[in-house]
């Protein structure tokens, strides 16, 4: 195995042998997809929705282990089912908060119980709760980048329709856009990002990666596109900065990425406030 790899002259391939490079690429790919999609999560106030979808991922891990299938597939499938369920329920009822609370914690707890019940599977649960980016394999990396690319491509082509539906569903309908379809697309993308992000930041911190870069970009932007772009930059900075932090201080990578994102958020928010004060004075 090591032989074949060392023989390859392809620098790229050799580069990917380095677990640090793989970790960095995985974190950057995840951050890109999550921070751009995160703008919609913020604009539509779907943070709790994101939480519920992400927490359900643990149940996905349990199912994947039980069926001996890919973790990504299990997580994506369960997140999708939960997301669709919430999507349906929130359509008709007003008490969405409560439903989300029940589903989010229900799926998380069921997942935690189910994982321990699986015979023979001795897994490090922490890796799925908080991520384990330093152990990503090349296959993981491929899944993460393909997933991120799909998410970003769909967002690119649906940007205007999603934005219109976000402003007002009836306005979208009158313009010939089906707001329910756009909501469904967002739901699917959310499930995709959860699957992509579980290895990197883990089920408990995925929402942070969605919401914090977008929130940090708010004060820096004057257009939706500008906010998405800045969120992506902040997301990538958090991913790389968090990895460095994790290396230096020997802290867990996922939480370190989120801590870096929070620090960046604090900087842009305070910076934006100062700028606003400076701008308003004559």
């Amino acid at each position: 195995m090591t032989m074949t790899i060392t023989i390859t002259i392809n620098r790229c391939t050799t580069m990917l042998d380095d677990f640090l490079i793989r970790a960095a690429l995985a974190a950057v790919g995840t951050a890109l997809a999550a921070s751009v999609l995160g703008c919609f999560v913020v604009w539509r106030r779907m943070a709790y929705f994101g939480d519920a979808t992400a927490h359900a991922a643990i149940l996905g891990v349990a199912i994947a282990l039980a069926l001996n299938i890919s973790i990504f597939a299990g997580v994506a499938a369960v997140s999708l089912v939960v997301a669709l369920l919430i999507h349906r329920l929130s359509d008709r009822a007003q008490g969405t908060d409560t439903i989300l609370g029940v589903l989010a914690h229900g799926a998380l707890a069921t997942g935690l119980v189910a994982v321990t019940l699986i015979p023979g599977a001795r897994i490090n649960l922490e890796a799925y709760l908080f991520g384990d980016v330093l152990t990503v394999t090349r296959t993981d990396l491929a899944v993460i980048w393909v997933g991120a690319a799909v998410v970003l491509t769909v967002l690119w082509f649906h940007w205007s329709a999603l934005l219109t539906a976000t402003l007002n569903p009836d306005l979208a309908t009158a313009s010939g856009i089906d707001p329910r379809r756009e909501n469904l697309i967002l739901t699917l993308l959310l499930a995709g990002v959860v699957a992509v992000a579980i290895k990197v930041v883990g089920a408990l911190l995925i929402t942070a990666l969605l919401v914090i870069p977008a929130a940090g970009a708010r004060r820096l932007a004057s257009s939706p596109e500008g906010m998405a772009l800045r969120a992506a930059v902040l997301g990538v900075m958090a991913a790389l900065g968090g990895l460095v932090l994790s290396m230096r201080l020997d802290t867990p990578a996922g939480p370190s990425i989120v801590v870096t994102a929070v620090v960046l958020f604090a900087c842009t928010t305070i910076g934006g406030k100062l700028q606003a004060i400076g701008g308003s004075s004559p």
Partner: protein, 264 residues
């Protein structure tokens, strides 16, 4: 023949519309037709199903009973009752006009001008006043060159002179675009001045006809009570102004289209 019938065909025809929510009938057997170029106003008290009917007409809500027929390829301009833009969404008035399709700068500027807000393209939507915001919504609605412009309580949150100015703006837009206008309102006097037809709605259609007919109808008077006496007087006054150009009234200044005052 199809050409002729296409010309004659209503923009929207709704028949026998019924909507029931949680066991309560919101709309019962409502029929409405909008022909090209006419101004139709739906009036009714709060909870009378006005907005529900509009949502059925634009296709946002499937009625439990009845049918809605839109002329194929019908271009709708829709001005919603309110648009809650989340404070986290940075959006200039100019960018808003680009939703869902990008428009050339010249057209956008023209639309803002027609709607009466030429200088606010670069302002953030969340920073606009109520009147400016409604006018930007109007500008966006007319960009699609609608055959039918639909306004849902578009003057909510505007004071009375502001609302009157807004409706004069709509009359101007209608003249420019030669489109039909369907409005919903509970502000009878200002709205009715411009309408070809008024539909009085309270879950079902109480009465319908020219403003004169409706304002004299017992069903209308019953629905809106005694307070309409004063409003009606104001309506007649506005109505006269709209249709003749005699400037010998003692209050001509109401007639000028240019809103020179700031909204209070």
């Amino acid at each position: 023949m199809p050409g002729v019938s296409g010309q004659r065909m209503n923009l929207i025809t709704a028949r026998g519309i019924g909507v029931t929510r949680k066991g309560t009938a919101i709309l019962q057997n409502v029929g409405i037709e909008i022909a090209a170029g006419e101004i139709v106003t739906i009036v009714g008290p709060n909870g009378s199903g006005k907005s529900t009917l509009l949502r059925v007409l634009i296709g946002a809500l499937n009625p439990d009973r009845g049918t809605v027929t839109r002329r194929p390829g019908l271009r709708l301009g829709y001005v919603p009752q309110k648009l809650a833009i989340d404070a986290t969404l940075p959006l200039t008035a100019r960018r808003f006009l680009d939703l869902p399709h990008r428009v050339p700068d010249a057209e956008a500027a023209q639309a803002l001008d027609t709607a009466g807000v030429p200088d606010i393209a670069k302002r953030q939507m969340v920073d606009l006043s109520g009147g400016q915001f409604q006018r930007v919504l109007l500008a966006r609605a007319i960009l699609s060159r609608p055959q039918l412009l639909i306004l849902d309580e578009a003057t909510q949150g505007l004071d009375q002179p502001g609302a009157a100015r807004f409706y004069r703006q709509i009359e101007a837009v209608r003249r420019d675009l030669n489109c039909a206008v369907l409005m919903v309102s509970h502000e009878l006097h200002v709205v009715m001045s411009a309408s070809d037809r008024v539909i009085c709605l309270n879950g079902h259609i109480c009465c319908e006809g020219t403003p004169e007919v409706v304002s004299a109808a017992p069903a209308y008077r019953e629905l809106f009570g005694r307070g309409t006496g004063g409003a009606l007087a104001l309506y007649r006054h506005d109505h006269d102004h709209g249709h003749d150009d005699n400037h010998h009234h003692d209050d001509d200044h109401h007639d000028h289209n240019q809103p020179v005052h700031d909204h209070a």
